[in-house]
Amino acid sequence: MTEHTSDLQTAVSILLTPGGLDLDALESGLGYATGPGVDYADLYFQRTWQEGWVLEDGEVKEANYNIDGGVGVRALAGEKTGFAYSNQITADALMDTGRTASGIVRSGKRLPGQAFKPVTAASYYAGVDPLAGLSADDKVAMLKEADRVARAADPSVSQVSASLSGTYEVVLVNASDGTLAADIRPLVRFNVSVIAVKNGRRERGSAGGGGRYSMSRLRDEHVAERYAKEAVRQALVNLEAVDAPAGQMPVVLGAGWPGILLHEAVGHGLEGDFNRKGSSAFAGLMGQRVASKGVTVVDDATLSDCRGSLSVDDEGTPGQYTPLIEDGVLTGYMQDKLNARLMGMSPTGNARRESFAHLPMPRMTNTVMLAGQDAPSDIIKSVKRGIYAVSFGGGQVDITSGKFVFSASEAYLIEDGRVTAPVKGATLIGNGPEAMSRVSMIGHDMALDTGIGVCGKEGQGVPVGVGQPTLKVDELTVGGTQS
């Protein structure tokens, strides 16, 4: 780990210098946002460079490049938030947006000025431009390799598409509480999707992954070959899939990406805003048992190079390891500054926003269930009739009623303790607190996902990670067609 403050100089030169600003100019910028009655204000500068390359029919037919950036200015007064933003990072823009944001209150005391304190934080990824890590020729070559490997893997493969994308993001946060922090966030992803056709049946398989590092690492780790083979394997499994059963039964979730269960069943319900407002099914349960003994769930922004990791969050709070449920007992919420202040708690480094043009709110980073004691094979053996789900498409939760769903993209029947036929993707539905109290076995094989998650909340998407060991939920409702 390296000290993080070196990002600050880079951020200043990328974000402020082109518009004729420097760190001193931020003081007056913040001054406009901290009008009378405002008790907190922040400026969030951001610039992103995004690139995406798409291969179809063996050729890279499309590629696009996007540059975005600007400043978002927020003023808080009690529970009120005023917000404005601009594509321009100039003194005029800071004045206009600052006055607009602070317009939510018109009277009250004026905050005393604070000396800026650069935030000291560890760095959980290298501040590199990930797009520069590979030449355009190398990017094209990677995509073509994925195509070649997938087509060679099985004659039933009829379509292959592959994509390589990356974002280079530079942010700078300056707040009226003295916070001054910068972060350089690389993010890359490689994906392969195939269609396989056999005996008139057509199925899709897909695989992918990435993280906060340079595109060159994707090449060095041979992900094109790995994900191409994995996508074909999944499509072939699905070609053999039978109709899934319908009804309540035990469900064994594989290690890694199935951790999306935690994200939906538990994670969202433990975000500070929902608990402050009392709209979460977990509201008021702090210190109480909300899951089986042995269940420990953490939100961990400090995992090295992971998709959801954050050296500092979007309010400049250092990324943290935040226990949420410890041995089945609710011990923590994920907080941003606003909700932490209103609940008398501390921020946990979970303030995130899609961009400068969006308001931050408490969000997950990498949400993980820690390993238990059971051998995965014993977990399978313990099930008489149930489902073994190893990959998922996506999920959703109603945090108020606690109901969550997630849709399997690769799953199998378990019959008499053995994994048998693959079943068609079925949606699983349950109630968060109930499902967590029905976790009866936890594997020792904790694994992180490969780096593919995008979480949506109030229309804002942010990259997240999940992880878990193999685990058994004694009863979930499986939404197949065979009743």
């Binding site: 890279v60 601009s86 849709s407 079925a426 197949g480």
Partner: protein
């Protein structure tokens, strides 16, 4: 509105910028080019428990450029409107086009198809609304909902109002611009009983603020929808007919259009490949697109490539009468564009319509679905499995609220098993549909 927005001036500015980008692309070596750009401005306020929670003023702009060098293509976009950034964007698109492969299907839509009939479809109705007025409307909405007995909490009410200008231009010389507006008000409330909390919401949305529902009506409807969910049980597992509420039925039309889309078809990623002119729905069912409808949500005389839009009939007498194509997907399929680059606009169903009560009666015993959760739709196979909430119905009479169950089938089977369409049409979105009654879906509950 708190910030001044001169749509006509913005329109002139965008036109100037788009023309400049096209000229620059040509000068720097593009054989053909196209540009899309937009500017939007709006206000959003939210209130909760009678207090202002957020006031947001937004102003977004972007320009996207696609260039062609022979049959190679490159795209770049930016939110920075400066001349320097525009040049960098064009250069980036050109540099990308040197690495992409030859694609015989790539290119602009045919020049002969460019829209020439460009009427004003009256989709721009700006709202001269101050922040204080916006707050008051949201407060009135929430207040009306909170006053309903049984409502214990509010998740808030939000009002948003915005207008904008978009432009599409290409090197055929086509320039299309459109001014538009969108206003909406929503409210979400919470009620609680000994089994836990429930929430639900209602909203109103329109291009013309005069067409918005009364705020108090929205608040009270949110309360009614929330309260009726209290005491929900789980339905039995089995095979039952399902009545989809209008907004859920619109989702089914959305899945259909996804499968009829050229992009899914040429990738063989649709369960409706090679199904043109074959039956999909009962013969009384027709579905068409009316892109030129005056004042409607998605109206536009030109599509995303400048092609004149037209009244496509996708389903005629139950058969698939047309796919939904852009000129790229059309070339890939050996067909011609249907003017659907960017999707379908204003979908309308023509069919004999029944009242919701008579659909319930026809259903007898089954499930009335008012909410769906998750992404359990497989576009390749049509397999459908989603989480749901709604009501248990016996002998055509609603018995009790139900939750935590799934409904599953296959879209192809569901469309064939469509029994009736309701007259309770939801006109808030671009797909107008009433309720749909579908036979024989698998319910997984207790």
């Amino acid at each position: 509105m708190a910030q001044a927005f001169d749509a006509s001036a913005q329109q002139a500015l965008l036109t100037h910028r788009a023309e400049g980008a096209l000229a620059m692309a040509k000068r720097l070596g593009a054989d053909a080019a196209e540009v899309g750009a937009s500017v939007d401005q709006g206000i959003g306020v939210s209130v909760r428990q009678g207090e202002v929670e957020t006031v947001e003023l937004s102003r977004d702009q972007g320009i996207a450029i696609t260039v062609y060098i022979g049959q190679r293509k490159g795209s770049a976009s930016s939110s920075d409107a400066s001349e320097a950034s525009l040049q960098a964007t064009v250069e980036k698109a050109l540099s990308i086009a040197r690495y992409t492969g030859e694609d015989p299907a790539a290119g602009l839509a045919d020049a002969a198809l460019m829209a020439t009939d460009l009427p004003d479809l009256h989709v721009h109705h700006p709202w001269d609304l101050t922040t204080d007025q916006a707050i008051e409307l949201a407060l009135n909405c929430e207040q009306a909902g909170r006053e309903v007995s049984g409502i214990t909490q509010s998740d808030g009410a939000s009002l948003s109002s915005g207008e904008g200008v978009r432009i599409y231009a290409n090197s055929h010389g086509f320039i299309g611009t459109q001014k538009g507006s969108r206003h909406s008000l929503s409210c979400m409330l919470i009620a609680e009983d000994d089994k836990g909390m429930q929430r639900d919401m209602d909203y109103t949305s329109a291009r013309d603020p005069r067409e918005l529902a009364d705020p108090a009506t929205v608040g009270r409807e949110a309360a009614r929808r929330t309260l009726r969910r209290l005491g929900a049980k789980r339905p039995p597992t089995g095979t039952y007919p399902v009545l989809f509420d209008p907004s859920m039925a619109s989702g089914l039309v959305g899945h259909l259009m996804g499968a009829l889309a050229g992009g899914a078809l040429y990738r063989q990623a649709s369960f409706l490949c090679d199904r043109l002119n074959t039956p999909l729905f009962p013969d009384w069912f027709n579905l068409e697109e009316r892109p030129m409808e005056v004042g409607a949500t998605a109206s536009s005389p030109f599509d995303g490539e400048g092609v004149q839009t037209r009244n496509n009939r996708f389903i005629e007498h139950g058969k698939i009468a047309s796919y939904m194509l852009s000129s790229y997907s059309a070339r890939r399929l050996g067909m011609t564009t249907t003017g659907n680059a960017g999707g379908a606009r204003n979908m309308r169903i023509t069919a004999p319509l029944s009242t919701q009560a008579s659909l319930l009666e026809q259903m007898g015993t089954g499930v009335w679905v008012t909410e769906l959760m998750g992404q359990g739709i497989n576009g390749v196979t049509g397999d459908y499995s989603r989480g749901a909430a709604g009501f248990w119905v016996e002998k055509g009479v609603v018995q009790y609220p139900i939750e935590e169950f799934t409904i599953a089938s296959n879209l192809e089977r569901m469309f064939a098993d469509l029994i009736g369409v309701g007259d309770d049409i939801d006109r808030r979105g671009s797909i107008h549909s009433g309720s749909w009654l579908i036979e024989g879906m698998t319910i997984a509950g207790h």
